[in-house]
Subunit: 150 residues, 2 copies
DNA sequence: TATTGTTATACTCTATAACTATA
DNA sequence: TATAGTTATAGAGTATAACAATA
């Protein structure tokens, strides 16, 4: 097999990984009454603390209109509330509820559990190379994205 | 850092990979006038040859209704046609057009190009360990999915 | 005049349920 | 009676554009 063919084969394998990982993620979140997009917003809130929808839109790289919809859904289901912004009456402070905080805490647990499931017992050097390679591939993809965007 | 923490960190990195890979994929397909779902259907058709919507629904793991929508979109944009099934007048044979065949051929090229971009120049042992680790992780995720489904 | 978030509108993917045509 | 695919309906995520309230 040529180098190019082996690389192409690896791309297919990564695509497989993306698909099954996404499916696993969606299934787990569905049990919690969440979607991937809503969970991503929740996670940003957990990292940043209460913030405006504008900030969330930029962090998630979606339009303000999309954030309106996501926050609507999360508020209806009790994960967040819209609070008055302390200084700017145009803006809202999206804030995690107690339920929202419990949920984001469970994300961290779930991640640890999944880590054991995926990597537990893997040979040390394989795991190390895997982590390094993933980081390198992410960097290269990001660089490509920046070029394409420019 | 404990083993569990390192594993959890690796899960985060894989999540990053899933996100940027998906974004890259979507952007490339958008240029071709396709979505991820439609491209997946096109790829199945390329692999299987003309087949019924029922078969496509099972292959893609979606409902027949969803396939109706995907085929509608692909037919409108000229990638496939609905042909009469040779023996069963209830069924349709979804078939790639010339444009559809050109497009799926371009997928293979694009995959090779992306492979060079992501892995070109990577140390040989790193690449080998990466491929093996990805395969192992996919297997473990699949096993977990089967358990959850049962 | 610029910014924040909304309403209005539209498209895609997804699902369930009822229905038609055919097997 | 069972199967292939459709229409009907609904919900989620996404986008652009026009608009209101506020800065």
């Amino acid at each position: 097999m040529s180098g190019t063919d082996r690389y192409a084969e690896a791309v297919s394998q990564v695509l497989e990984l993306v698909v099954v990982f996404n499916d696993d993620l969606s299934r787990g979140l569905d049990d919690a009454g969440l979607t991937v997009s809503r969970a991503a917003l929740l996670w940003e809130l957990e990292q940043r603390g209460p913030c405006t929808q504008r900030v969330l839109a930029e962090a998630l790289d979606v339009t303000p209109r999309t954030v309106t919809g996501l926050v609507d859904g999360l508020a209806e289901t009790g994960f967040v509330t819209r609070e008055a912004h302390p200084t700017d009456r145009r803006a809202t402070h999206v804030t995690l509820t107690e339920q929202g905080r419990r949920t984001t805490a469970a994300f961290a647990e779930g991640r640890a559990r999944l880590g054991e499931q995926l990597f537990g017992g893997m040979a040390e050097d394989r795991f190390a190379h895997f982590c390094a390679a993933v980081a390198e591939v992410v960097d290269r993809l990001r660089a490509a994205t920046r070029e394409a965007g420019a």
